[in-house]
């Protein structure tokens, strides 16, 4: 993974930069010793590590604005960081960049049941919001698997998903407003407790912008009333193809379950070895379908989903009879990653999305790829929305296996695009999928996206080297009639 070459002038100015930051921030907000900075050298994509130039942990929005404006004026790059759980390297530091941590923004500022929303600082964890409102029977719907640790600010940056997106949407569908700071140091308030933008939807483009457009300093999210009943149904199939078809059949029947997950045989057995969830070990694929709502509705839909499953050729079917049993059904799914971690020294988790109907075809291709690369793969899918999480098993200590695993992963994502899908459903592009962007977008598609970036940050100082494989200068992007095909600026950094 090639990152932009660190700017030597910035590196040589490090002492001055640290001194200037210390002068504008309270004591303890600037970390410049190697031992403490080490904690920030990677995010959830830990295969990549880089020590930052310096770490700052501001305490107020004004301090964030001061830091950003100073960095802009002094041509210093900035990498924002929430809880550092990104699986795509979105918060990977730069050697010549200030790492701006939002960890001290850890307070919920307003819980408003009348308007069913919560106003919070961005460093609060996703689950922290639910914890703050659950006594009144409410919750925050998006539930990425890292929800115990990931911050809501990071969720905005990545447009995080989770198991229940099919019915309740991603982060973007659940955020009402933010306060953000631009690289210019301007503090903007977008949205709030009211709905819609009333002009250009800047909040919408900020969500999922991976820390490239601005730094979020406050978040307003909507909260939902917890459903009266939640029940799950566990369905085994003799072939993965039948299971894939069953997923489409449920949707075609007009049913939108709260969640619809799929595991293949290697994932089933890894999970079963790990937590004894009672999964059918001989099934080629397993579906977990969750339904929620009033009890009569859940009962009715369980029957209908059961019929669809039987018609689709299910080999086993169990409906949760208690909350304990429902949690047991989920325990295997939720521990799938650590369970796979036990059967392989290392694994890579991929994150493409395909049209639901392509699931059977994708599974066939996956087996062929597994053979081709000589590496095992365990599949865990958010099947309801076509979001795949293939886990590629490898051993980093075996010469060449990491590289082969990465090639396998890239081929999976290329196949996702080939089948009409996308490179990433919820983990983000970051550095991990940056060089694959051209598989999905044309040069012109990416240029228009980067022009939007230029509207926010013309100096490319905020989180450069992420998302886009080629860093165009804004002046070049702004020019009209760019010549097709030719590369007019061979001096531009390509990585």
């Amino acid at each position: 993974m090639l990152m932009p070459a660190p700017d030597k002038t910035t590196l040589s100015r490090r002492d001055d930069i640290c001194a200037a930051l210390k002068a504008m921030l309270p004591a303890g907000c600037v970390i410049d010793d190697d031992a403490t900075m080490r904690a920030y050298d990677a995010d959830g994509l830990s295969a990549y590590r880089q020590m930052p130039l310096v770490v700052v942990l501001p305490e107020t929005t004004q301090q964030v604005a001061d830091v950003l404006r100073w960095c802009r004026d002094n041509d210093v790059k900035v990498v924002p960081r929430g809880a550092g759980t990104s699986l795509s390297g979105g918060a990977l530091p730069l050697a010549d960049g200030v790492l701006l941590g939002l960890g001290k923004f850890n307070q919920i500022t307003d819980i408003d049941f009348e308007n069913r929303c919560v106003v919070t600082q961005p460093g609060v964890t996703n689950l922290g919001i639910t914890h703050a409102v659950q006594d009144e029977g409410f919750y925050y719907a998006p539930d990425p698997s890292s929800q115990i640790a990931c911050s809501i600010g990071g969720n905005i940056a990545e447009n995080s998903g989770g198991v229940h997106c099919l019915k309740y949407g991603l982060t973007t569908n659940n955020v009402l407003g933010i306060e953000m700071v631009t690289m210019d140091g301007d503090i903007l308030r977008l949205g709030g407790k009211h709905l819609d933008a009333g002009n250009l939807d800047v909040l919408g483009v900020m969500t999922g912008s991976e820390g490239l457009l601005g730094v979020v300093t406050e978040v307003t999210v909507r909260i939902l009333r917890k459903p009266a009943t939640q029940r799950a149904i566990l369905v085994g199939f003799d072939t993965a193809q039948e299971a894939g078809q069953a997923v489409s059949n449920v949707i075609a029947a007009g049913i939108i379950p709260a969640g619809m997950e799929m595991m293949d045989n290697p994932a089933i057995n890894a999970a079963e070895d790990f937590v004894q969830a009672g999964y059918p070990r001989d099934a080629a694929a397993l579906l977990i379908v969750e339904l929620d709502g009033p009890e009569v509705e859940v009962d009715y839909l369980l029957d209908r989903v059961g019929e669809v499953m039987q018609r689709s050729g299910s080999s086993s079917l169990r409906v949760s009879q208690s909350e304990i049993e429902r949690n047991q059904f989920w325990a295997g799914r939720k521990s799938a990653f650590p369970a796979v971690g036990r059967i392989s020294p290392d694994y890579l988790c991929m994150d493409g999305t395909i049209p639901r109907k392509a699931l059977p075809e994708m599974l066939t291709r996956m087996s062929a790829m597994s053979q081709k690369f000589g590496l095992r793969v365990a599949n865990v899918f958010h099947a309801g929305d076509g979001n795949l999480h293939p886990l590629i098993l490898f051993d980093a200590n075996v010469e060449g296996e990491l590289q082969r695993a990465e090639e396998f992963g890239a081929e999976i994502l290329r196949n996702c695009v080939d089948l009409g899908g996308v490179l990433t459903g919820e983990h983000g592009v970051g550095v991990e999928k940056r060089d694959l962007m051209g598989e999905m977008f044309t040069e012109e598609d990416m240029k228009q996206q980067q022009r939007v970036k230029c509207a926010f940050d013309p100096g490319h100082l905020l989180n450069p080297g992420k998302v886009f494989p080629l860093l165009h200068r804004c002046a070049e992007l702004g020019r009209l009639h760019v010549h097709h095909g030719a590369l007019p600026h061979p001096e531009l950094p390509r990585f």
Partner: protein, 400 residues
């Protein structure tokens, strides 16, 4: 002269020429909402009425791909055949604008117009999964995808939605569609005033009954006046029959403390929400019609602040968070906007006014300087020569 492209290639060619000639364009879908937004002065007209048709509809994938000029009626019928819908409940504003039909899907997306289900299912912007367009540089680009869950690259769908044709001209849209609810019911409760009606809605939305609409009408709202009652709160429940029946019973108990509850069954319920969605319950002859997005619990304060200064008719949707009001007078925009700003924040957009007034009043709520500057730069990133619907969303500061 109006150019009416029938295919993407013709649109791109036309746009390329317009950019080369620096020809500014007045862009419309089928022209049913032309009076929404500020007045546009342009060198030429571009209509997408012939760039029309459903390109791909996959009910089991919950997606529909359509060209922007496709009539909303055509889309609604195609979806209904498969028991599906556009869940954001697009409004038919033909009553407001004197149009013959509900307009085009491109127009609805460009204006980000959502109906009563906005409160539970989200806005138009939540259902645009991807699009292809030609920018004000005369170049084609695509953003988003045809799948539900996608975070690859910036979400330009959100920017396009609600941009009133000022960023790019869409040639194809991919929409997320959802199953239609099997049945619906509305519970109405008569209240002494606006404030308790809003409280009734709040209680309904706080309950576990999953309302999909929450509106307040008043005797003075117009055709839907309910006797002499100062305000009536309406809550819609949708879903499978057993579930709706069960929730209706629970919600009756929740609402009973606010007044006498009556139940509207399916047909009456649908008629009520259609009228609310299409803004049919205001005075047809009103000089000005405004749309205010406010914090639901502040609705009463906002209305009080306005009615202290002028006479209006109004109704509320989105659990109290949307006020549609009609009134008159050159100072109305200041009264309305300062009331919103002083009571919880939000925005007020002008939906309809005589042309003489539209020239003088900003249709979209003025933004703080830093945000307005960012909006300008975003527009320039798509349309550096300001050729696309110039002035539609307010004046853009031109580059030197």
């Amino acid at each position: 002269m109006t150019f009416l492209p029938e295919a993407h290639e013709a649109l791109e060619e036309f746009m390329r020429q317009a950019v080369a000639d620096k020809t500014s364009l007045h862009i419309v879908g089928t022209g049913t909402k032309e009076k929404l937004g500020d007045m546009v002065t342009a060198d030429a007209s571009l209509s997408l009425a012939h760039l029309s048709g459903i390109v791909d509809y996959q009910p089991e994938e919950l997606i529909m791909v359509a060209k922007p000029g496709t009539r909303l009626d055509e889309i609604t019928v195609a979806l209904a055949e498969k028991k599906q819908m556009l869940a954001f409940e697009p409004a038919n504003l033909s009553f407001l604008y004197g149009a013959e039909h509900a307009g085009s899907v491109g127009g609805i997306i460009a204006a980000n117009l959502s109906g009563p289900r906005r409160i539970s299912a989200g806005a138009a912007r939540d259902y645009l999964l991807g699009f292809t367009a030609v920018s004000g540089r005369g170049t084609s680009f695509t953003s988003g995808s045809r799948v539900m869950k996608n975070v690859t690259g910036y979400d330009l769908s959100k920017l396009i939605c609600g941009s009133m044709g000022t960023l790019a001209v869409m040639s194809e849209l991919t929409l997320k569609v959802l199953p239609r609810p099997e049945t619906s019911t509305t519970l109405s409760v008569k209240c002494a005033a606006l404030a308790p009606a809003q409280k009734a809605l709040s209680a309904a939305f706080k309950s576990a009954t999953e309302p999909s609409g929450g509106a307040i009408t008043r005797a003075s709202s117009g055709a839907l006046s309910l006797g002499d009652e100062p305000a009536a709160a309406h809550v819609r429940l949708e879903g499978v029959a057993q579930s709706v029946a069960d929730r209706t019973s629970t919600l009756c108990d929740v609402l009973a403390e606010f007044g006498r509850v009556s139940v509207l069954e399916q047909d009456a319920s649908e008629a009520l929400w259609q009228d609310i969605r299409d803004i049919r319950i205001l005075d047809e002859a009103a000089e000005q019609v405004w749309k205010l997005s406010v914090t639901p619990s502040h609705v009463s304060e906002v209305i009080t602040a306005i009615t202290a200064q002028t006479v209006i008719r109004f109704f509320c949707d989105w659990a109290g968070g949307l006020i549609i009001l009609s009134g008159a007078g050159e100072g109305l925009h200041q009264i309305v906007r300062s009331a919103v700003e002083a009571h919880g924040g939000g925005h007020a957009s002008l939906l309809r006014a005589p042309d003489t007034m539209r020239g003088a009043i900003a249709s979209f709520h003025p933004q703080p300087t830093a945000l307005a500057g960012l909006h300008d730069r975003i527009r320039q990133s798509f349309d550096p020569l300001h050729l696309l619907n110039p002035g539609k969303m307010g004046s853009v500061s031109r580059d030197a």
